[in-house]
Symmetry: C2
Subunit: 389 residues, 2 copies
């Protein structure tokens, strides 16, 4: 087993394999590209890279994002169609503040990204979880939940969804369901916040089409990000939505006062995109993370006892492991920690507290460490199962 990553957002315990931390391997962060780009931005844009700048982000960055989207997704955007954001968390908070009212119903997938759940819960809305299966969100169940909500006089306002390379469930929404979801959203005036943060990290050909791109007139707010494709510390993303929704988001008070986006980060990323190295960088990331997914899912298949099932994604950072019937992730965790391996228990991600699954991030470690972690986890599952029987 090679050494642990140099540092992370979280505190790594020595000798542990920490599958809980969904963040990029520091070794894969583009320090050299950012260094060059910072120099280009400060020498090129000069003080403009340090001023308030446009509240919607620097024109050069908006144009570069629009051009890449138009070329890769057949969604004809212009610079003016893109709002630069301070990353998806900031953009989700902004969407909650500007698009919901107290008492509105907000739907989330069950499971969903735990920190997004925290952001939504900071707002005075009712949160309703909707189940998922191997094809992603159960859109028929969502339809019934929207009807029930509206019938009870509570406005079904917004769905937060991660249709592509889901965190934590590791699946993507099927195309028929994407179409049905768009139809529902248009019919019921349900705003769909599409968290599209993993799009660039597709391992098998291209990512599925974004909801936003499949129907440019539908009420879809797509959140894009450079956190996975470049570096989370830049805190930079964008919002792409039909004009009426975009304008409502752009009227955010914090945005008007220049308060979301580091213009400096934005000018640095604009310079980086302009230098033309982004495509090669994400291509290398795709190869690196696909190899890590293969290493982890292969070792899990080899070592896990019967009764476990693993969903290995076609992109992104996460595997979703469902435990043998009767064993919960929270019961397993202390056993696993004795074997120096850890994970994120399923209940963190579920509005209904379901704890029969767990999330494993394969982004932070190299292949030998991932295989070692899988062996330890398999030992812990066998031990916990034996302990229960």
């Amino acid at each position: 087993m090679t050494g642990p990553p140099a540092f992370t957002q979280n505190t790594l315990r020595e000798g542990f394999v920490e599958f809980a931390f969904g963040e990029p391997d520091p070794a894969l962060l583009p320090v050299g590209l950012v260094h060059e780009a910072a120099e280009r931005a400060l020498l090129g844009a000069g003080p403009a890279a340090l001023a308030y700048g446009s509240s919607e982000g620097p024109e050069a960055l908006r144009a570069a994002i629009a051009a890449r989207t138009a070329a890769r997704e057949c969604l004809p955007l212009a610079a003016g169609d893109v709002l630069v954001s301070g990353g998806n968390s900031q953009a989700l908070g902004q969407a909650m503040t500007m698009l919901t009212e107290p008492g509105d119903v907000v739907f989330v997938e069950c499971p969903t990204y735990n920190l997004a759940l925290g952001i939504i819960a900071d707002h005075p809305v009712d949160i309703v979880g909707v189940p998922m299966d191997g094809e992603g969100l159960d859109v028929a169940a969502l339809e019934a939940a929207v009807r029930a909500s509206n019938a009870s006089g509570r406005r079904a306002r917004l769905l937060y969804t991660i249709p592509t390379f889901h965190n934590p469930a590791g699946v993507s929404l099927s195309r028929p369901r994407r179409r049905r979801l768009l139809e529902l959203a248009c019919r019921e005036d349900l705003i769909v916040v599409e968290d599209d943060v993993y799009r660039e990290l597709a391992f098998e050909g291209e990512a599925p089409p974004a909801l936003r791109a499949m129907d440019p007139a539908a009420p879809v707010v797509r959140l894009g990000s450079f956190s996975k494709s470049l570096a989370p510390g830049l805190r930079l993303g964008w919002v792409d939505a039909p004009p009426a929704l975009r304008k409502r988001l752009a009227s955010f008070g914090v945005l008007e006062s220049g308060g979301c986006v580091s213009q400096f980060s934005a000018h640095v990323v604009a310079a980086l995109l302009d230098a033309g190295a982004f495509g090669a960088h994400v291509a290398a990331l795709r190869l690196a993370y696909a190899s890590r997914r293969d290493a982890l899912s292969g070792a899990l298949r080899e070592h896990l006892p019967a009764g476990c099932s693993v969903t290995a994604p076609d992109g992104g950072f996460f595997l979703w492991l469902t435990l043998p019937s009767g064993l919960t992730a929270s019961e397993l965790l202390p056993v696993a920690e004795r074997h120096r391996v850890a994970f994120a228990a399923g209940r963190r991600f579920c509005t209904d507290g379901d704890d029969h699954s767990l999330r494993l991030a394969f982004s932070l470690y190299d292949e030998p460490s991932l295989a070692e972690g899988a062996r330890r986890l398999a030992t812990a599952v066998a031990e916990a199962t034996a302990g229960r029987s």
Copy 2:
């Protein structure tokens, strides 16, 4: 008259003196210091400068802010007492989300910073304006408003105030009133959000003591920022509050997901502070802006017709001009624009729509331009007054 600044957040009209724009002169932005610091941060911290990092900001930056506060304000802070923010607008939005509930009453000064008013208005609270005079906020009037609010069953929750080098009113809260406000806040459990963005830009000796520093146990959330002292495009500030309030702010969902602060900007500023050039930089800014204040207030005194009064501040960016009785800023503006000078009309800053004053920023132009703008404005006032009589 020298040429206009190279660019701004806003669109400058050719040949105009745009007093409306409260932003630093691009020529005073520390491009060289940031360039060096970015290099130091990326070579020194390396990938840590691009990772998620701690949700409360890099330790090095928190420690540097705490040390400067302890040394200059006799407020003994440690790194752990400081939360790095994405600038004051972000921090104010966070305070509104985490510290207020729907229907709460939030007090603001009348006049107050117009964009803060927009941020507060994005939240489902009742906004109540409290008058100011030459000593700053009328604390007796606030006291009465708090009593009236609580008596009517609406919770008096929070005051947003800019006690030091006020935007737009150009005054600072007197010491007796600072003490009385702190007493009121403690007695009524009224949270005071102290916007302290101009502290480093004191022209006459030291700035008045911060409310936060005068009573470290009082419910004061101080918002500090590098937007004026370094560069707005870095989008970087901090929050300094008693532990209980700080913890409530730190439980913000967006913060937990790393969603507010550009770690990259934060590491760059940490490197800049570490290099030791910050003190000399802000000393130069103080001299530059004091000279601009003098140029503008001197030219206004010389040229304005009788009946005008001007409040020239001891720090910050803004002069506040009250017009001769009967003339409103909105009536004056088209006349002024014919003379190629513009300003921010008072009603933008006032919850009661009062429009007999206007805000002039002296931050963006050099002295000859400011003097020329003052002459044009004086001509416009004389013309508008003559037109009315």
